[in-house]
Subunit: 452 residues, 2 copies
């Protein structure tokens, strides 16, 4: 079977919903040989499609050459073309993502926008898809990259043939078959001379790794493609088992999730199950060994992730949302000894004034005479003002922070205590002059602050 | 932590049942650096052990040099040593297994024999184990070999640390750490200059593949070891799901197993589940696509494996043992039109004698006058005799077969039909002269035989 025949048979088998009528496609065309062959195959098969090309401006004149080339392709096949320019380097800097990831995100985001334009892809269509030219060697390279970087079963399924509104009908074809087709049909294409790190690694697999392996494992490409098919099914079964175990292990009560310690201690595949469960609560894989240690810790031991805390409470590990656990305002009653909150913990003690004042930023010594309970522990807000210790006139906190040369994140992390709407202490920074200990002070409230 | 410390901590963690008392070990020592370090570590840790060395005679004088060297090691550490010689090449030829597989089989078989010798390993011991020196790079190489040859999840767990009576306590250690330990402790060892195909592939991974990969994936060794740990747990969960699906899919009735076609048609991971179920009935992985086709075949369609047949019967695929399906004796009643049996199938038709006798070995034309129903279809047995067509005196079948120059397997496959204890037809070979069609014959029973 030649490429055009196997392409059409593959379409029927793997994408039976992609038909010549009621379907319109948006072909992603870089100008490379894969995408040119994709265009030619869909053209010859008589499909209705448009072309989209991204100019990422990553390769200077070469990027513009590619754009021009894809324009001529659109003319040649008489298809409408969309072109978008991206300042990829700048966006990557702002978003703090790699060039490859940035380009990938921009590309699929724009494609989806195009697909949602009523004018070109009316909602009366039965089907509309973005089509990319990924082929068998791309999926092998993805498998290999994941495998050598380290992965679970989720990294072994290669590039999906269909997810959401994207289809990849060339995944069955090897690179050499695609190039052979292009040559046999006198197609022109452009070569990408870039050396982005991912391309670099992919080139290594293509030019060095696979030829080398073929000496020892002559059928290595086919073997890896078969692996991918098997691992896809393994992943389906794995996911079934994870879901069953999750049901057994995780019990929801309101906003909290309970996991029985005894069951966790003896469950097979403990680490994997903890990871599969906890990643949904923003925990990272590297935290899992610490979570395992929690199982044998004393009650109260805990670990935090971005959105959730997991803590040991007698016979359970309990997962609780951090925002729920720490309200943004906490009332402190007379006699409270310890208070935990998002920013840390406070310890309160009452003492006689013996003339010794501890002067560290983590401790506040306050005259009890002017304090009115309950005190309120809260984050600072715009408009807050106080009388910084040593000053007789009030000062806006915002202004005070500038004087203190605080960074944005330092400011955001600041908490304060107020008494009857007067600020008493900006934690870790300065007490209010109105509550300072005088020679006449009899009783002192000492508050010790510990950062998280 | 140096190697001896991490070795001891690894022993405690992964092999808590291996203690210095009540445990006796049999160390497999080739003389290579891994096994020499194994001896040194167990010696320094104060364990009770003996040494076993196989001389596979695969490398001429070098094999004998290794044997001599391991003897000096046993003397040095004052441990008892067992040495066994194997004519590996010859055994591999007879058993038709590769040299590596043969050596592996011989080795573990002999080790187990040693472990079962009451004199050296009395049953009063709490624990006794064979210990091999496999290390982290061995398990990485095994993972890679399976991966590139093509594998399911079962090929991704590396070398097991403990199975049956074998433990492998050095799996945690990388080759370079073992060599560094040997050098630091002034240990001597021998190098294996062999180039058996598996060694050849392992050398490729060690000397070419991994150093090459490290340029692109600096932590590749650690990543692969972590993969192995994760894949072990994935395999546990995968097996849970397979077992659950098997319960849903497979219903036993007597000797037969029923699988509902409708359920199979829509079950996720169809191919993998069919393979996991059918491999227990001697089917091979390459037969699975054919089994999938059976789902949409007409009733009666079937596929055979060595011990079982799977056939479509209305809404089920039915797995049935071949030996059970075909009894060794089948009664053929007057009027039976078709008979299926292990050796093939028979078609019966009755006709008037019009003087045309078909003379092919697959067809018997018999005079009905002398036939007594039911006929008996059975395999031949020692002592059987008949009157071969054209002969007037009886002949033992065994003798007849010699004249016919039948091979053993041809003889074993032979079936015959008898009528009232007289042999009527040796299927596919010769009818009995007493039942041949004569000019006077009126009615003929025509039997057509079709091999399986």
């Amino acid at each position: 079977m030649n490429l055009i025949e196997s392409f059409q048979s593959q379409l029927q088998q793997a994408f039976p919903y992609v038909s010549k009528i009621h379907t319109k496609l948006l072909l992603a065309v870089s100008g490379g040989v894969d995408s040119i062959v994709l265009v030619d195959l869909f053209y010859k098969a008589g499909f209705d499609f448009m072309i989209a090309h991204c100019n990422f401006h990553l390769r200077g004149e070469e990027s513009n050459r590619d754009e021009m080339f894809v324009k001529t392709i659109a003319e040649l096949y008489q298809k409408e073309i969309f072109i978008q320019h991206f300042d990829t380097v700048k966006i990557a800097e702002v978003e703090k993502t790699s060039i490859e990831e940035t380009a990938r995100n921009l590309r699929y985001h724009w494609f989806t926008e195009l697909l949602n334009e009523e004018r070109n892809f009316p909602s009366s269509l039965q089907n509309k898809f973005i089509v990319t030219a990924h082929h068998a060697n791309d999926t092998i390279e993805t498998l290999l990259m994941n495998f050598f970087r380290g992965t679970g079963i989720g990294g072994l399924h290669g590039i999906p043939a269909h997810n959401e509104n994207i289809i990849r009908p060339l995944l069955f074809a090897k690179r050499e078959a695609i190039i052979a087709y292009a040559k046999a049909n006198n197609l022109n294409w452009v070569e990408d001379s870039s050396n982005q790190s991912e391309t670099y690694t992919r080139n290594f697999f293509r030019l060095n790794f696979l030829p080398n392996m073929q000496e020892y494992f002559p059928k290595v490409e086919g073997n890896l493609l078969n692996n991918i098919e098997r691992f896809k099914e393994v992943e389906i079964l794995y996911t079934q088992a994870v879901d069953l175990n999750r049901k057994k292990l995780l019990q929801q009560k309101g906003n909290e999730f309970f996991m029985p310690v005894l069951l966790l201690q003896k469950i097979p595949a403990q680490q994997t199950l903890l990871w599969e469960i906890l990643k949904g609560f923003s925990f990272s894989q590297s935290q899992i060994p610490e979570v395992v240690k929690l199982l044998s810790s004393t009650s109260g031991a805990y670990m935090d992730a971005q959105t959730h805390r997991i803590f040991k409470n007698r016979n359970h590990l309990i997962i609780t949302p951090l925002a729920e656990r720490f309200s943004q305002q906490i009332l402190i009653n007379e006699g409270d000894k310890n208070v935990s909150f998002e920013g840390g913990s406070l310890k309160f003690s009452l003492m006689q004034n013996d003339g010794n004042i501890e002067k560290t930023s983590a401790i506040a010594m306050l005259d009890t005479k002017n304090l009115e309970f309950p005190l309120l522990l809260r984050k600072w807000k715009a408009g807050d003002y106080f009388y910084p210790l040593g000053m007789k006139k009030k000062k806006k906190l915002a202004r005070f922070f500038i004087d203190q040369k605080l960074s944005l994140s330092q400011k955001e992390a600041l908490w304060l205590i107020e008494s009857n709407k007067k600020i008493v202490w900006v934690l870790g920074l300065r007490i209010d002059d109105r509550f300072k200990v005088l020679a006449s002070t009899q009783k002192i409230l000492k508050i010790e602050f510990k950062y998280r």
